[in-house]
C-alpha cells in the first residue's frame, strides 16, 4: 500500500481480534489494519504483539496518517480474502500466504 521507509511512528493503535483458528485470526488482524487505513487513513510500520494464543491476538500498531506529499503510495487494498490462505512453519519461523482483493 505504501513504501514503509517514509512512514513515521507518530501514533499508535491498540488492536484486538479473536477467531477460531490461526487463519481466521490472520484475516481478522489484516482486516483491522484495513479498517484503520480507510476510516482513519493510518499506515502502520511496526507492530508489537502483546498477546497471541490460538484464538486471540492483541497488539499495538505504530504509524501515522497518510500524507500524500510525503508518502510513496501504492494501491489500496479492498479486502483480505481466504482464497488459498495458508499459514505454515518454515525455518523456525512462520510463512503465510494471503490473497488480497485489489
Amino acid at each position: 500500500m505504501a513504501d514503509l521507509g517514509g512512514v513515521q511512528e507518530r501514533e499508535e493503535r491498540s488492536i484486538e481480534v479473536e477467531g477460531r483458528d490461526a487463519e481466521t485470526l490472520l484475516v481478522r488482524w489484516l482486516s483491522e489494519l484495513l479498517y484503520y487505513l480507510d476510516a482513519q487513513e493510518m499506515l502502520f510500520r511496526r507492530f508489537q504483539v502483546e498477546e497471541l494464543t490460538g484464538t486471540r491476538l492483541r497488539a499495538r500498531a505504530f504509524g501515522e496518517r497518510i500524507d500524500r506529499d510525503r508518502h510513496d503510495l501504492h494501491f489500496g487494498v479492498k479486502a483480505v480474502t481466504r482464497h488459498m490462505l495458508e499459514i505454515g512453519r518454515e525455518d523456525g519461523g512462520y510463512r503465510a500466504k494471503v490473497l488480497f482483493d485489489i
Binding site: L34, G76, R82
Partner: protein, 487 residues
Amino acid sequence: MVTNRKRVLQKIDDWRWLLPQDYKAGMRVPGLIFASEEMLDIVGEDQAIEQVANVAFLPGIVKYSMAMPDIHWGYGFPIGGVAAMRIADGVISPGGVGFDINCGTRVLRTNLTEEEVRPVIKTLMDQIFRDIPSGIGGHGQVRASLKEIDEVLINGARWALEQGYAWPEDIESIESGGAVPGADPDKVSKRAKERGAPQLGTLGSGNHFLEVQIIDEVFDPEAAAAMGITGPGQVLVFIHSGSRGLGHQTCQDYLDVMEEATERYDFRLPDKQLACAPIKSKEGQDYLAGMTAAANFAFCNRQLITHWTRQAFQRVMGRDARTDLGMFLVYDVAHNIAKIERHRLDTHEIEVCVHRKGATRAFPPGHPDVPARYQRIGQPVLVPGDMGRYSYICAGTQQAMAETWGSSCHGAGRVRSRGEAKRVLKGVDIAHRLQERGIYVRAQNRALLAEEASEAYKDVALVVDVLDHAGIARKVCRMRPIGVVKG
C-alpha cells in the same frame, strides 16, 4: 501446474460451451460458458472452469452456472459469473457479488469533439485528478456524517440529487433509479460506515478509473442516437468505481456470518468461499438488505464523481456543463450485485436472486425497467476495456433475457496477474508509452501502471464480439481513451 480444462467442455456452437453436469459430482446444473474457441485456451488455464462447476453446487440454482467471455478466476465465484437461485429454496452468497459491492460504470455524453478537447486534455485531466480523489488516502469533498450515510444507503443517487449533486434526468438513467429497494442501513456495520464515510465521492484504486474517451466507430446509429451519441470524434466520459470501504467491509462482515450459516444449514460446498445462506433465512435477508444498502452507496458515489467531473469540464472548457456541453448521463450499471428479479422460465414466471459478479444487467427493448428513451433499443450495456485500447457500449437483447437472465459481460477480464504484468513490463514506462499514443494518464503512482496495462487484460473487442455473435448484447459503439485518471 494447472491442467488446461478446456477439453472437458462440449461445444454447443461457436460461442457457447457446455460444462456437463456430470463433470463433478454435486453439480445441480450444467455450466454454460460464452467464449470463442480461441479464448478457451486462456479460459481453461486457470481455475475459472472449476469455479463455474463449483457454483453449480449451490442450492436452488436454476438452469446453468454461467460465465461470460471475460471470465477469470475469483474467490468462490469466477469473475464474469452469473447464477440465479430460486427465491423459494435457493441461497444467496456474498462471493457471487464480490467485495466491491456494486462496482460499476457509467458513461456521460458531451457535445464536445476531440479537436476541442485535445488542446486542453492535460489541464482537464489535472483538474479532474485534483477534484476527484483517487488512490489511497484521499477523502471526498462531501463530509457525510454517519446519519447522512444512513440516508445514502437507502436513497443512493437520489440523496445526491437532494443535495444538489445531480441533474433530475440522471436518476432515470441509472440502473434501478440509483436506489435499489430493500436497503436497510441497520444491516451495514458501524465499521463499514466508518470506512466508507470519508470515501464518499472518491474513485478508489486498482482497476478503477475515469477516462475521457472519443467515439471511434458507431455500429448501430439508431441506438447511438437514442444515447445522445452522434458519431466519431465525439467526447464521452467513462467512470468506473464502486462502494469503497463500506462495500468491502460489508462483504467481509457477511462472509463471516455466511461461513457459520453454511455449516449450520449443512450445505456441502466444494469451496468455503461459496459460503451462503437460504435467501429466505435471517442471514440471507440480512445480507440482501445490507448488500443492497452498499449498492446504493456506490450509485451515490458515482453520482458525486459525475458532479465534479461536470464541474471540472465546465471550469476548463469555460462552458456550461448542462446547457452548452450537454453532459448528460447515458447510463449507469452495476457489475457486482445480486438482485431479486422476475424472469420467464419455459412457460411460467419465476422469481430468482440473480448474482452478477463481474457481469452486467442487459435488459431488452420493451422491458419496464429500461428507461423510456431506450425502450426501442434496449438497456445500454457499458463495457470498459483496458486503458490502452478501447471500450464499448452495447445494448441488451431479448436473447439475453431468455438465456442469461438478462446479463452480459462487464469488461475485458484479466489475463495476467499484477505480479506477472509487472514482470513482463519491467523497465517500460507505461505513462510514456500511452503518451506516445495520444493518451494522457494521471495516476497516484506511475510505477504501478504496468499492473493495469493492456498486457494484463484480454482484448475487450474479442469479449464483446462473442456476445454480439451470440445475440446476447448488440454492439452500439466503440470509444478510445485520450485522458485517464487511475488510482
